[in-house]
């Protein structure tokens, strides 16, 4: 039965927004962990870790995000792992974010001039101390703007989780549309909600970019 679009629907959309944000946060946590390992391996002087990191990034970036989601949701169920949609989505997005964050952070580490490592080494710092006190504090400043930029992409891409039945903002929009048959109004609200989150993140990234102090 078709009903009117009401304030309750808007409220439900807002509540669904929480799941969009939650999925983004989970993907950042999982992807951040993978990304740290990928970045460390990718920036390493040793061949094997570098090849492994490059292989991982190539593999993930060469396969559509949607296919990763299908693989974790439908693919694993063939082997008897019936993952709830939110788990499958978290896994898929973590794998995906891990590759991109790994690349961003590897670039940030490599962007710090070799002379900074050398200056640290020259006052007697160990490798780990050089990383901790000299390289990472500078690399973070380089990495924050593109990391926030990627997070904006991530927020938008979580809408793909709708297709495996994870009820986030887009899926909630579909459900509301089905009930009210007012796609234009509903998706306008959905769009506005995405925009509010993404635009503030972009502004934040811009502000960070203007306030960094690193070796050139």
């Amino acid at each position: 039965m078709i009903r009117e679009l009401s304030l309750t629907d808007v409220e439900y959309l807002l509540l669904a927004m929480r799941w969009t944000i939650a999925l983004t946060a989970l993907a950042l946590a999982g992807g951040g962990t993978i990304g740290l390992i990928v970045a460390a391996c990718g920036a390493s002087g040793r061949m094997l870790p570098r090849y492994l990191a490059r292989g991982y990034v190539g593999l993930v970036q060469g396969i559509p995000l949607l296919v990763w989601l299908f693989l974790f949701y439908f693919g694993l169920s063939i082997f008897g792992y019936n993952l709830p949609p939110w788990v499958a989505a978290t896994l898929g997005f973590s794998v995906y974010a891990g590759a991109f964050l790994g690349e961003i952070w590897r670039g940030a580490l490599l962007s710090i001039p070799k002379t900074q490592w050398e200056a640290g080494r020259s006052i007697g710092l160990t490798f780990i101390e050089q990383l901790r006190h000299v390289i990472i504090p500078q690399a973070i400043r380089v990495a924050i703007p593109p990391t926030v930029g990627f997070t904006v992409q991530l927020v938008k891409n979580t809408s793909l989780a709708a297709v495996i039945g994870f009820v986030e903002l887009t899926r909630e929009g579909q459900l509301t549309t089905a009930a009210t048959y007012q796609p234009f109004a509903v998706y306008l609200i959905v769009a506005a909600l995405y925009f509010c989150v993404c635009y503030s993140l972009s502004r934040y990234a811009g502000a960070l970019e203007r306030s960094r102090r690193v070796a050139r």
Binding site: Q116, A119, R121, S122, I123, G124, H133, Q138, R213, A215
Partner: protein
């Protein structure tokens, strides 16, 4: 044993031989200027002394440590060998104070307020105590280089290495850095300087070393060295730089 001793040191970058069986001794309290054309191996020689560049042959001894031996504790050695680079290499994410304090607090485990006192002292020696709260990029090149010297001094080094430290500076800023070096020389610091400042070398150095094609081509006391070069290569080098 000398403070620094290089025995038949050979250094290659791939097929490119940069140092060919170099011998050099530095005694405590000596001030040695290393001069030569670019590509003659003088900077590499300096960087081999604290192990920033590994050597492929020969022995490098510095303050009793076998630098050529991969098993040696270079971290402990580097804490007592100060080096200052052409491009300053200050830490841009730290204030001047924290630049100077980093080594003492992390490497020597010094308490923060002791390290801060030390930073004041080191910066006073280079005449920049009032810049202690500044960021590196707020300083002129000459000031940045003096902070880099203070950073090295804060580790109480037994020897200081200077790698063309005035080459990246505007001419009017060279003097302030050389004045700091002269003050350190008067305090009895052992110093090795790779430099293009011939007048400075003549005035301050005890001994001058001329590098050519990866070898110590000629060396001698500063006065005679410039007045009466023995080799044709040194003569031609001096005539090309002394005008």
């Amino acid at each position: 044993m000398s403070l620094v001793e290089l025995k038949r040191v050979t250094k290659r970058f791939g097929a490119n031989v940069v140092l060919r069986e170099v011998d050099l001794r530095v005694e405590k309290g000596e001030i040695i200027a290393i001069i030569g054309r670019s590509g003659s191996g003088k900077s590499t020689l300096l960087r081999c002394i604290n192990g920033l560049e590994p050597v492929q042959g020969g022995e490098v001894w510095c303050d009793g440590v076998a630098v050529h031996d991969p098993k040696s504790d270079l971290r402990a050695l580097r804490a007592r060998v100060g080096i200052v680079f052409q491009s300053f290499n200050l830490f841009p994410h730290l204030t001047v104070a924290r630049n100077v304090m980093l080594g003492p607090t992390i490497v020597k485990g010094m308490a923060a307020d002791d390290a801060e006192k030390l930073a004041h002292e080191a910066l006073r020696r280079v005449g920049l105590e009032e810049k202690i709260g500044a960021w590196a990029d707020e300083l002129s090149g000459g000031q940045q280089q003096r902070v880099a010297i203070a950073r090295a001094l804060a580790m109480s080094p037994t020897i200081m290495l200077f790698d063309e430290i005035t080459s990246a500076l505007d001419p009017e800023l060279v003097g302030e850095v050389l004045l700091v070096l002269e003050a350190m020389a008067r305090d009895g610091m052992t110093m090795l300087l790779v430099t293009h400042e011939m007048n400075f070398a003549r005035r301050v150095a005890n001994r001058v070393v001329f590098m050519h094609q990866g070898k110590v081509w000629e060396e001698g006391p500063a006065k005679e060295f410039f007045a009466a070069p023995r080799t044709e290569e040194l003569r031609s080098f001096l005539s090309s730089v002394l005008h």
